[in-house]
Symmetry: C2
Amino acid sequence: MQMQLLIDRIRKDGIVKDGDVLKVDAFLNHQIDVGLLEEIGKEIRRQFDGKKVTKILTIEASGIAIACIAARYFNCPVLFAKKTKTLNIAGDVYTAEVYSFTHQKMNRIIVSKSFLHADDSVLIIDDFLANGKAIIGLSELVSQAGAELVGAVSVIEKGFQGGGDRIREMGIDLHSLAIVESMDPEKGLIFREEEGIH
Amino acid sequence: MQMQLLIDRIRKDGIVKDGDVLKVDAFLNHQIDVGLLEEIGKEIRRQFDGKKVTKILTIEASGIAIACIAARYFNCPVLFAKKTKTLNIAGDVYTAEVYSFTHQKMNRIIVSKSFLHADDSVLIIDDFLANGKAIIGLSELVSQAGAELVGAVSVIEKGFQGGGDRIREMGIDLHSLAIVESMDPEKGLIFREEEGIH
């Protein structure tokens, strides 16, 4: 379910650029409004009310902020996947390949096997969802560990890029707190309407 | 001033490796114990009691976690410097060069001029201090903006590498929450004693 406070903030401080780029540098992924993240963290807890979560999994760098603040409401640790270019990865990590829309390149992501186990119940949290490859890659790490995937959260989903819908079709319980349906430097932002807004 | 809770945790879960490497992946920079970060955040606020801080400045990736949790106790935003390899940086950023001990390479760090101003009072927070180049680079960004540097915090300082003492000699009010004076895979960790431990 989308979050009105967040949508209002994106309308106020988000900047639409050519090439389907939405800059939210003012409050989410360069300068960080920690008060806003606390409201987002509470909303994530509300949306996964009653669900057991033993670990929040995210990806460096900007996912770390929201994951850490949200983790306060779940009383669980955060684990962040690291990006690496190294092809020869030692056997003590889980690994997946992720294509970055922002940086237009392939990254290998890794987490240490020491910190993700078959008895973990994992919630994936990331700041942006475009082509969905980050969340899919993170879900592969959860599978490799034999852990339970409780669901996934993206703070901002670019709905028109289709990644979110692909993830939903895979059966992952994806919650996006703001879904941008279209954006245009002239016309501005239009958010998805069929989902409720809290 | 050092922090006993943190020192105890480093002794318990830190792993000393050859080449002066101290791995704290279990609670600080891969898996993150958010409860511990909250205690660290409170301690940072206590050590800078009464000081006006309008912005916490850190560097991606693992500095983001501690900066965001600490920012809750300062009621201010976080700004994280980004690492980039791009040499041609547009004129709307402050930039400095930082040599990474961990990755043995030179990084250029940048922050947008939009988020760092002459009227800001900045506290720098980073997770690790080895050669001190990250904090020095971040302090250069603060200078370029004409902002006030309130001080700097490193969660773990490797005292034997001298970076922290160089920063203190520069007149920066550096607070390290744990200062490792020597480490050895056989003998283990020895922390600096001349400073008080809280």
